[in-house]
Symmetry: C2
Subunit: 391 residues, 2 copies
């Protein structure tokens, strides 16, 4: 089996990286930039006014659109595409975290390709091109700053949450300044830490063969994130801890952690979580902390040693086979609890009604059209069992 690694994003890392924004845009010949962002924090912190000033000084024109929400919405993407077309935008600058970047990627698709942008998310068409996206990252979590992935929630029709993966959308540049994450609320660090871990964990669980160098790097990353997530919470001014967490977020989702694997990974937890957070609008990281333990308990007997190896390298677990697997799952649950994460639906005050369960399963299976997973292939009834275990 062949596997690919393609991560062309120009990364600038360190304190003050955001000051390079005009240079990076100019290097790509940007003439009219859409500055895309979320809520008021980027304004309050002075980051946006810094960006505006740098662009003005460099003679780069821009328009702005804020208001991106977690689980970014199709309606705002459509609005941005309309503005972009009217204003002849040729570059999108995402100032924010994964939601803003994912929204920017969708706008990029919409500006470069004719037809309905949602087509790319519901699998009807494949994007051929994009308006370039650049990133100033303010949140370590999704890895969207280097990834090929974008997830959008259709708030116009059934709150479907769907992803589109394409090398086309990998950001042209990413400015990573760990200091920008010092002032995040604890909760953002907590859900971000789970999200980062899970991008590598999803790649860890594939069927077939992998290579040890990728396993060793993956385990080193997860172990590092496990420590740095807690360190960031303890010391909100530790450059080192915030820097490690930020760079781990990019590496966890840029493809490195699947190189040499027969597949890109399992991704069932992500799909099951997408339906959940699409319906209940909980944070992605919190949803993953609920789903991963349930998924693990349901699938680990397929290959207990794979779980045990992860536990050995990350938590120093000595047991092998099923015992080792069970211990590994316990350790992850205990760790998520330390991060103040829910590890069950009840913890998140979600009570699934029977009709909601069926709706989740309808959406997760694309109304009977797909299975999920690679480590273990999941049919509709397997998914039901996992949601049940998550209660």
């Amino acid at each position: 089996m062949l596997s690919q690694y393609y991560a062309p994003t120009r990364v600038t890392f360190g304190e003050g990286a955001e000051m390079k924004v005009a240079d990076e845009l100019a290097a790509d010949g940007a003439a009219k930039v859409l500055i895309h962002y979320g809520g008021s924090s980027a304004e309050k912190s002075g980051l946006l006014s810094k960006v505006r000033e740098l662009l003005k000084n460099k003679g780069i024109a821009f328009v702005e659109l804020g208001g991106v929400k977690p689980n970014p919405r199709l309606s705002l993407v459509r609005k941005a595409i309309e503005i972009g077309k009217k204003e002849n935008v040729d570059y999108i600058l995402a100032v924010g975290g994964g939601s803003v970047i994912d929204s920017a990627k969708a706008i990029g698709y919409g500006l470069s390709n004719s037809g309905d942008v949602w087509d790319f998310y519901c699998g009807k068409r494949v994007p051929q091109d994009t308006v370039k996206v650049g990133v100033i990252l303010t949140l370590s979590a999704t890895g969207s700053e280097m990834s090929d992935s974008s997830v959008i929630t259709n708030d116009e029709d059934g709150w479907l949450k769907r992803g589109c993966n394409s090398n086309v959308c990998r950001p042209a540049f990413a400015l990573l300044d760990p200091c920008l994450t010092y002032t995040l609320p604890d909760y953002q660090i907590e859900v971000g830490t789970v999200d980062i871990m899970m991008h590598t964990i999803e790649r860890w669980f594939h069927s077939g063969n992998g290579i040890d160098i990728t396993d060793d790097l993956a385990a080193a990353l997860i172990k590092n994130v496990k420590e740095k997530g807690l360190e960031c919470l303890k010391d909100r001014n530790s450059y080192e801890a915030h820097a490690s967490l930020m760079w781990a977020s990019s590496l966890s989702h840029n493809g490195l952690m699947a190189l040499g694997n027969d597949q890109r990974g399992d991704w069932a937890c992500h799909q099951l979580e997408h339906e959940l957070s699409g319906m209940f609008d909980i944070a992605h990281g919190a949803g993953l902390a609920i789903i991963f333990p349930a998924w693990s308990k349901y699938v680990y007997k397929t290959n207990p040693e794979r779980f045990a190896k992860l536990g050995r390298l990350v938590f120093g677990i000595k047991e092998e086979g099923e015992k080792g697997a069970e211990k590994t799952i316990e350790e992850f649950i205990a760790y998520f609890k330390k991060l103040n994460m829910p590890t069950s639906l009840a913890d998140a005050d979600i009570i699934l009604s029977d009709s909601q369960m069926e709706e989740l399963l309808d959406k997760a299976t694309f109304y009977g059209k797909r299975t999920l997973g690679a480590f273990k292939i999941l049919e509709r009834e397997d998914m039901r069992a996992i949601y049940e275990l998550a209660k």
Copy 2:
């Protein structure tokens, strides 16, 4: 301090990756390719005839130039540039290891920039562009398949060995098939293993601050390479061992292992070794196995804990401070010996005359114009002490 990561090479990895060569060339619109290679092994193995057939079937024209030697020579680069200009070559395909790729990069510079190509290597000018280079890798060692670096030996004038670093020359694509390395002579695996380790070790030793995620990934890589190098020698048909070593070679030199560091690394060992192998034509990896122990003994007191941390993560050394540093150096020497590497000049049957010593120091200092290193800045007399320790 800001640091950069930029590794745009499209990597295809796995058994049979070389079969994608025509697709990759076609994706970049190659019209006339120079196939560049070394000795007879690529011909004998059938790899070159496979490549010719794939290009013919895809309707891609090509010319060929073989004969690249270890420590690739300027005279052959000039000859290739002449052929390339005459034949309107718009793509260079390197089929081989680091010497072939480095030679291809120099040819790319020469075809895209006017004036003398050696200017880029002796630091007179900076290359602005290149004819694209693609790679079919047959040897895990230099990491040139993703790196920004190319080293050429001037066989026309004093056997100076000089490097040119530029993002411009990073290969457009790299096809990595571990199976192509099954039939290498043991010696190639041995020197390759040292070379791979040293690219990360050079980045490990910087002054100033780094971040733990990079340290943890670097240590995981070195530890993996330490094991896989020996495994490859023991089992010349182990896909896993050859695959891990091959991917480690790319990651060790693509910039990943310096992200977050204040500098790109130390690189004094490489510079001191370049002068040595430029003069005595020994293998780069063997030269590094001689220089690194001498350099380490000379510099470790600058920051013993940095050495001890490496030893702790890679060899499980318990001691801290100077004791830990000394133990770490001993472990590396013992490991190099296990790889049948020389760890002194005497081991390599090199006896430095007084005039040769002065010539080495003249070249290493650019005739008094530069110091070397970052972990500890080396003046001419420091370099002399290190070559003395290497005897």
